[in-house]
């Protein structure tokens, strides 16, 4: 088996160490390790993190291969420092049967860039009325443990209650896209000062918050755990904080874009800023950062949502919702959390690797960087600053809100079980 010596890497941002990879495993972490028989990567003060884990990715295959495939999506993931992504169920056909989740799982295996863990739909066809065969998806080769109708909310309180209860039998978790459907009919952007001026249909914060409030109470009542997708408002933070203080088993995620961007950007009517849940206000952004720092929000998840060019090169109302995120996530987190002093690199490892792996029960991912652990690793040049150039993306889609924006940090190397998937910023 091949050996790689990463020399002088700040492991989780600490003092420089040498890290020896032997085969698929971290063999040794120390100072002045021998390079004999090993390929040497000079880390030169770069930060070494455990391979990132994304609990919320849209890989689009099967069905929308014009926007992304499992292969292009996992290449984008490796570029962004990820070694494991959870693929959302809103494909065509919907991942609501053992057959579809196994297909996605198998495509992930074949890609070789990143482990793909399919998420199963909660309800048949994401229609919110009839439970999908959750047990069959769990028992399939894909071993699904996370279930979500993401893109749509499990809005029926009884269906949500049953799903929360049912998955306890195999320690699954329901990840809720919190959006009260009636309050968001025709919604185009955050409801507030900007939507009033622009004449775009409002997506009120209360439509998210009321569903989160209901679901944490349901989780408490039936003794289940619940995960909240892409929390976007200050009020949602308050509710999750309250639920945790009450001992309710709730976890929550925030996207990079909700940590950085606000609804003021919608004034351009440029649909690259159209996303669901929508960009909120400065006050919300600050509350989300604070909540991620204090642990109220457990993890960062990208909600990587590729769309073909024509679905964004149009008027706002006709445009698709969503942004690609895998290749810019770590930079945005550095910009909003690390460079602001809210989180150190150990904190980033926790929010982007350890915790998401825990919530999703990913085996072999989100492990400490120490001897005997799987060599899923990411090396980050944190001193780098540069403009985002979508032309260089590995993703098939280019719908990024950061084009031309200067951001810090660049992933230079990614290792998946000891095999380099990214070397000097280039995919292998």
């Amino acid at each position: 088996m091949s050996k790689t010596l990463i020399r002088g890497a700040k492991v989780l941002g600490g003092e420089p160490r040498d890290v020896l990879i032997d085969g698929g495993t971290v063999a040794e972490v120390g100072v002045g390790l021998s390079a004999e028989g090993a390929e040497v990567v000079e880390a030169d003060g770069k930060v070494l993190l455990p391979g990132l884990v994304d609990l919320h990715t849209h890989l689009r295959e099967p069905g929308r291969e014009d926007s992304e495939t499992v292969l292009t999506g996992t290449r984008a993931a490796a570029s962004g420092g990820y070694t494991n992504v959870f693929a959302m169920a809103n494909t065509f056909p919907v991942a609501d049967t053992a057959g579809v989740v196994e297909q996605v799982w198998r495509l992930g295996k074949e890609s070789g860039y990143c482990d793909v863990q399919p998420i199963g739909a909660v309800t048949v066809g994401l229609e919110g009325s009839k439970l999908a065969e959750l047990g069959a998806m769990h028992e399939s080769a894909a071993g699904v443990t996370v279930f979500s109708d993401d893109g749509k909310c499990v809005h029926d309180a009884v269906i949500m209650r049953r799903a929360l209860e049912y998955v306890k039998a195999f320690n699954g978790v329901v990840a809720q896209h919190a959006q009260e459907p009636r309050l968001t009919e025709g919604a185009q952007m955050n409801e507030g000062v900007v939507s009033a001026e622009l004449g775009l249909g409002g997506w009120p914060a209360v439509a998210e918050e009321s569903v989160i409030a209901r679901d944490v109470l349901l989780a408490e009542h039936v003794g289940s755990r619940v995960h909240i997708c892409h929390l976007s408002t200050a009020g949602s933070v308050e509710i999750v904080r309250w639920a945790k203080s009450r001992g309710i088993d709730v976890t929550a995620e925030v996207t990079p874009h909700h940590l950085l961007l606000t609804d003021e950007l919608v004034r351009s009517y440029n649909p690259v800023y159209k996303v669901n849940p929508p960009l909120r206000t400065e006050r919300d952004v600050m509350a989300l950062r604070e909540a991620l720092a204090d642990g109220t929000i457990d993890i960062v998840a990208t909600d990587h949502a590729p769309h073909p060019h024509e679905d964004k090169d149009c008027e706002w109302a006709a445009a698709a919702m969503g942004m690609v995120g895998l290749e810019t996530a770590l930079s945005v987190v550095q910009e909003t959390m690390v460079d602001t002093g809210l989180l150190d690199w150990a904190g980033v490892a926790d929010r982007m690797s350890f915790k998401p792996a825990q919530i999703g029960q990913a085996t072999g991912h989100g492990r400490p960087v120490s001897a005997g652990e799987p060599a899923n690793l990411t090396l980050v040049d944190t001193a780098y600053r540069g403009q985002v150039d979508p032309a260089g993306f590995a993703s098939r889609s280019r719908n990024t809100p950061y084009e031309g924006r200067e951001l810090p940090g660049r992933v230079t190397h990614t290792w998946l079980r000891g095999k380099a998937t990214l070397v000097d910023g280039k995919l292998t």
């Binding site: 185009q188 409801e191 507030g192 000062v193 900007v194 939507s195 009033a196 001026e197 622009l198 004449g199 775009l200 409002g202 009120p204 351009s268 009517y269 440029n270 024509e310 090169d313 149009c314 008027e315 706002w316 109302a317 006709a318």
Partner: protein, 326 residues
């Protein structure tokens, strides 16, 4: 003046007064036996209407023809748009035929802004109403009508609407007319009050440069002009208000209410009116109601806008006007 007219909020006070004064000159043309100017001869204007609006389209068409422009009318119904063509492709197709200006009406808020700023086309863009966002020429013709009636046709030249109290009543939430009017009237120094049931006011309205009231009766006595906005019956089904009758009782303008307005005050409506809903026939047909004048003024305003955007610096009618460089 800017290259495009997208939003009433983009107009400075000087821009707005220049348009209103130019429209007065255009209005004189309408009094001539031959109602035509050679100003835009050889220029092509396309009326790109993705939403049915016969009145606005005809008004623009009349303005364009009086300025001698070549006019192309494009309506989405039955066109390639109904077969799935994008706004971008439609616009580029038209521009490839050599148009100088695009007058666009679209159901999507921001569509004219996208057209003007995305690098899709080079033509001048005039917003003829987009979604629930803006309808700047409507606001201009309304301001023109107010200035004539409240300040005077000749006395008004070069003047704004300083201190005039304007009340807008009705479905503010879904109204591009309301948004445009609030912006322009504020720029022109008027004091605007919006009156509506709370359900028909947008969240965020508190930041607009105007007052907000839920009570029509208390504002009537303090209004120099009352503008009624159309309330669509289908709003009732979405629970914005209980019944048509209740809306009418609380927010409709009838003869009794009109009698409580100051003697000089006018009643306005952008049309089409729903008689018996927001306005009674008695009010609609009274001398104080300017609905028909507004239609006439609309043509003058649209002539002025097209002339100023396309015609460059040549005098529009006769004498050279002295205005500062924009």
């Amino acid at each position: 003046m800017q290259r495009h007219l997208i939003s009433a909020a983009d107009l400075t006070r000087d821009d707005a007064i220049l348009i209103l004064d130019t429209a007065e000159e255009m209005a004189r043309v309408a009094d001539r036996p031959i109602k035509k100017l050679p100003t835009l001869r050889g220029r092509t204007v396309v009326n790109l209407f993705f939403e049915d609006s016969t009145r606005t389209r005809i008004s623009f068409e009349a303005a364009e023809k009086r300025l001698s422009a070549d006019v192309i009318n494009f309506t989405a119904k039955g066109s390639s748009v109904s077969k799935g063509e994008s706004l971008k492709d439609t616009a580029q197709t038209l521009e490839a035929m050599g148009v100088d200006a695009v007058v666009i009406r679209h159901s999507a808020s921001g569509a004219p802004y996208r057209l003007a700023t995305s690098g899709w086309i080079d033509a001048h863009v005039v917003n003829a109403g987009d979604g629930t966002h803006q309808h700047p020429t409507q606001a201009l013709l309304d301001a023109f009508t107010m200035r004539r009636r409240l300040v005077g046709r000749d006395a008004g030249l070069g003047k704004d609407l300083d201190g005039r109290r304007i009340t807008l009543v009705g479905d503010i939430l879904h109204s591009r007319v309301a948004r445009s009017n609030v912006d322009l009237l504020h720029t022109l120094g008027a004091e605007v009050t919006l009156v509506a049931p709370p359900t028909l006011l947008p969240v965020g309205v508190e930041t607009w440069p105007c007052e907000v009231s839920y009570d029509l009766d208390s504002t009537l006595t303090k209004s120099d002009a009352v503008m009624l906005l159309r309330v669509q019956r289908e709003r009732m089904n979405a629970a914005f208000f209980p019944t048509e009758r209740e809306y009418s009782r609380r927010y409709g303008l009838d003869g009794d209410r009109m009698a409580r307005m100051p003697g000089h005050a006018i009643v306005m409506h952008p049309g089409p009116m729903v008689r018996g809903m927001e306005i009674t026939a008695e009010v609609a047909d009274s001398d104080r109601c300017t609905v028909v004048e507004q239609v006439t003024n609309g043509v003058s305003i649209r002539m002025a806008v097209l002339y100023l955007l396309l015609g460059g610096n040549e005098p529009a009618v006769t004498h050279a006007r002295t205005t500062e460089e924009k």
